[in-house]
């Protein structure tokens, strides 16, 4: 292969579990690094995305900053992959969708003693929460989904190697898990 593919990854409203699973491909990371270079990713600590071939995103969208990061990924990545239950369905963070955002904020910052001196933080540095947590594909077009919470390292390996080889990625029996 003449040129290495560039991959960016990030975690939005996720727990980093999916990233741990990416690391779980263990020594195969070396084989992977023969084929790809990491751009923006917790692995490199690069803060902003340059044009990439593949973007991998864990976690759903819970605040304005998530939306900005997701837009940055969509603009820069030719192929965008949603990895894990949170990215695909909202997952655990979306449990708050049953509650009204105002009552969440009131409960945490106003009713409970001891937090933020009894006011709801309003520093412009802080991203505002969306009223609901959304899966990625409700905000931008997503090309592929890798289900699982988290997907196994084997599933991630199979998916990426297929994709890099130019094949339609296929997760056969045993690699697709919905939990």
């Amino acid at each position: 292969m003449s040129k290495k593919l560039r991959i960016a990854t990030t975690s939005l409203a996720g727990c980093f579990g999916c990233h741990m699973s990416i690391l779980d491909i263990d020594e195969r990371l070396f084989a992977l690094l023969e084929l790809v270079e990491f751009d923006r990713s917790p692995i490199t600590d690069i803060k902003h995305c340059a044009p990439c071939d593949i973007g991998i995103i864990e976690g759903g969208i819970c605040n304005a900053e998530n939306v900005h990061v997701l837009h940055e990924f969509r603009k820069n990545c030719k192929i965008l992959i949603a990895i894990g239950a949170c990215a695909i369905n909202g997952g655990l963070p979306a449990q708050r969708n049953h509650l009204d955002l105002s009552s969440c904020l009131t409960e945490v910052y106003l009713t409970e003693p001891g937090l933020a001196h009894g006011h709801i933080p309003n520093d412009p540095e802080l991203p505002l929460p969306l009223d609901k947590v959304h899966p990625l594909h409700e905000v931008v077009k997503i090309d592929y989904f890798i289900p699982g919470c988290p997907p196994s390292a084997d599933a991630i390996w199979k998916f990426l190697t297929d994709l890099i080889a130019g094949k339609t990625p296929e997760l056969g029996h045993g690699l697709i898990k919905y939990d």
């Binding site: 304005a64 939306v67 955002l101 105002s102 931008v140």
Partner: protein, 597 residues
């Protein structure tokens, strides 16, 4: 629980012989008696039936007419089929909510009333309709809804409401073999008994009769399969679940020709060697229970049911009526059998089919109401003559339930082979844009296809015929059907449970003006998943409404789409409004630009 209530509860359980397989029937009666199934009632039932609470709660939570929490003394459910909506049901519901100070789906604070929606109640020819505590009221107008609101506010017992509210029309517009029959009870049974079971099976095979519930399976073959299947008992089941939106012919048959239905079931019992039969009546037709029980009693008195029927020693057969409780999936025959056994109505793995492993795992013949009527008449007029009616592969007549945009909705009985156009002419429809055949799971036809024929060769149908004129938005029709499937998915298998919800969200997204071409492609992908991986026919047909309307009425979708490749599913900036309000922020960072990427 008060001592009186406990006593009532014990009576209900005793009436069903303390039999846990009658759980659904017991729960229905508890619901009817107390308005909901209280935790104390669950405890008491668990004890007297010797089953775990969890089983009772799992069954109760499956059926939409059963409630584990109080749902008001008056529980109002507006029928939410597209034909009800076309007649203004949504406005009427909003009016009633306003009158009673209530939000849809909620119970009023004083515990008096709740208002919600339910799938098609089978009153499509006289809509809009609603159910109040399970009783149907049709031909709703603003005036009538206001009167209902007043009756509820005054806590007038249902029994004292004007009888006219509960009047249900038959609206028979065209009769033929079945609806025109004046056959006396027992005549065909007498002939059949003389001929014997095998002969009945052979005649039904010769007649070419095929099932009228939708799938069109040859009835003679089914009866033969059941007859030959080994088992300690054989059973006959009449499928009167009639849940397909837009269908109401079984209601009319049960009302006008109940003897034909029961005679057909008895004939089938003779053919397959059954001693026991069930009529599975959808909960929405609860009002038919007493009249049908009276017919059964008359037939028992006339020795047309019971021991040694018509004096034939050893031919014993009786029929029990089971009521459903608001679950469309229970029309699927194996789900129906589960429900008969008092369980959640989840379809079984097939094979084995009910003919060999049905009710209590014994050979069971499940047929549609109309099929039983047709069987009696096929035998009466002679199998060969019957075969000559209709078309080559679809013999006999078919009852069509016509609703929607036409001046004469109702029941039309035709020999098979009638064209869509002929039906449209007979019901007086003008400026027809589309016809939906056989409910949401069936096909949607555009004008160029009105020459097609009803029958198994071309357009198989369980009988629904919904007419849409050129004032209707076919996208909204499809969206209503998609909501129906999402609501009625039994939740057993992931492709259908999740897929129907995704489909619903996609249609809502398009309706809200966030749709793109990408979403339409996604529907096609989803269809492939649902077609190939769903456990039963519901999931397999859930995408049909969208695919069919897309084929004929693509502009109805395209004029709602954004031209971009992709649009977010919701208003991004709007989703921050709450947080802006709570934090008092309005800086640039507190807003999101709408970007289609």
């Amino acid at each position: 629980m008060a001592a009186d209530d406990l006593c009532l509860l014990e009576q209900i359980v005793a009436r069903h012989g303390n039999d846990a397989s009658k759980l659904l029937q017991i729960l229905r009666e508890v619901q009817e008696c107390f308005g909901f199934i209280a935790p104390a009632a669950v405890n008491s039932l668990a004890e007297s039936l010797a089953i775990p609470r969890a089983r009772i709660e799992s069954v109760a939570s499956f059926y939409s007419f059963l409630h584990l929490t109080p749902h008001g003394e008056y529980r109002v459910l507006f029928s939410d089929n597209i034909t009800d909506r076309m007649l203004g049901s949504q406005d009427l519901m909003a009016q009633m909510c306003q009158q009673l100070w209530l939000q849809p789906g909620k119970v009023s604070e004083d515990g008096l009333v709740s208002i919600g929606t339910t799938s098609c109640t089978g009153m499509c020819d006289q809509g809009p309709a609603l159910l109040v505590n399970g009783r149907a009221i049709t031909r709703l107008t603003h005036q009538r809804v206001m009167e209902i609101g007043q009756l509820i506010r005054n806590r007038t017992p249902l029994a004292d409401w004007p009888a006219d509210f509960f009047r249900i029309e038959n609206n028979v517009r065209r009769s033929d073999l079945v609806l025109g029959s004046t056959l006396l009870p027992g005549v065909v049974l007498q002939i059949a008994l003389a001929l014997g079971g095998q002969h009945v099976v052979d005649s039904i095979k010769t007649s070419g009769l095929r099932g009228r519930g939708g799938a069109g399976f040859p009835t003679g073959l089914k009866w033969e399969g059941c007859r030959n299947a080994p088992g300690s008992e054989h059973y006959v089941v009449c499928n009167a679940d009639e849940g397909e939106p837009g269908t109401f012919k079984d209601r009319v048959l049960l009302n006008l020709q109940p003897d034909l239905v029961f005679e057909g079931m008895t004939l089938c019992a003779l053919a397959v060697g059954a001693k026991k039969g069930f009529l599975y009546l959808r909960g929405e037709y609860r009002y038919l229970l007493e009249p049908l029980q009276a017919v059964l009693q008359r037939r028992r008195d006339d020795n047309l049911l019971g021991k040694s029927i018509l004096g034939f020693p050893g031919f014993d057969f009786d029929i029990e009526i089971h009521l459903g409780a608001g679950a469309y999936i229970c029309g699927e025959e194996s789900a129906l059998i589960e429900s008969l056994e008092g369980k959640r109505g989840v379809p079984r793995n097939r094979p084995p089919f009910p003919v060999t492993h049905g009710y209590l795992q014994q050979p069971t013949a499940v047929d549609n109401v109309e099929t039983f009527c047709q069987a009696v008449l096929a035998l009466h007029i002679d199998a060969e003559k019957y075969r000559a009616i209709g078309t080559e592969k679809s013999s006999g007549t078919k009852l069509i339930s016509v609703s929607g945009d036409c001046p004469r909705p109702g029941i039309y009985e035709y020999p098979f082979g009638v064209t869509v156009r002929e039906v449209l002419q007979d019901c007086g429809a003008v400026n027809t844009r589309a016809v939906q055949i056989s409910g949401p799971a069936g096909v949607c036809l555009g004008e160029s296809e009105f020459g097609r024929k009803l029958g198994f060769e071309d357009l198989p149908t369980a009988g629904a015929f919904m007419v849409f004129d050129d004032s209707r938005d076919m996208f909204e029709v499809a969206r209503n059907f998609v909501h129906f499937f999402a609501h009625e998915s039994c939740g057993f298998c992931t492709p259908c449970r999740v897929g129907t919800s995704i489909l619903k969200q996609t249609m809502d997204k398009i309706a809200a003006g966030h749709g793109t071409r990408y979403d339409l492609n996604e529907v096609e992908n989803l269809d492939r998943v649902l077609q190939t991986t769903s456990h039963c026919g519901l999931g397999r047909s859930a995408c049909n409404p969208v695919l069919h309307t897309l084929k004929h009425f693509r502009p109805a979708y395209e004029n709602k789409l954004k031209s971009l490749d992709f649009e977010p599913a919701f208003d991004l900036d709007g989703a921050l409004a709450r947080a802006r309000q709570m934090t008092g922020r309005d800086d640039a960072g507190a807003h999101l630009k709408a970007e289609g990427i």
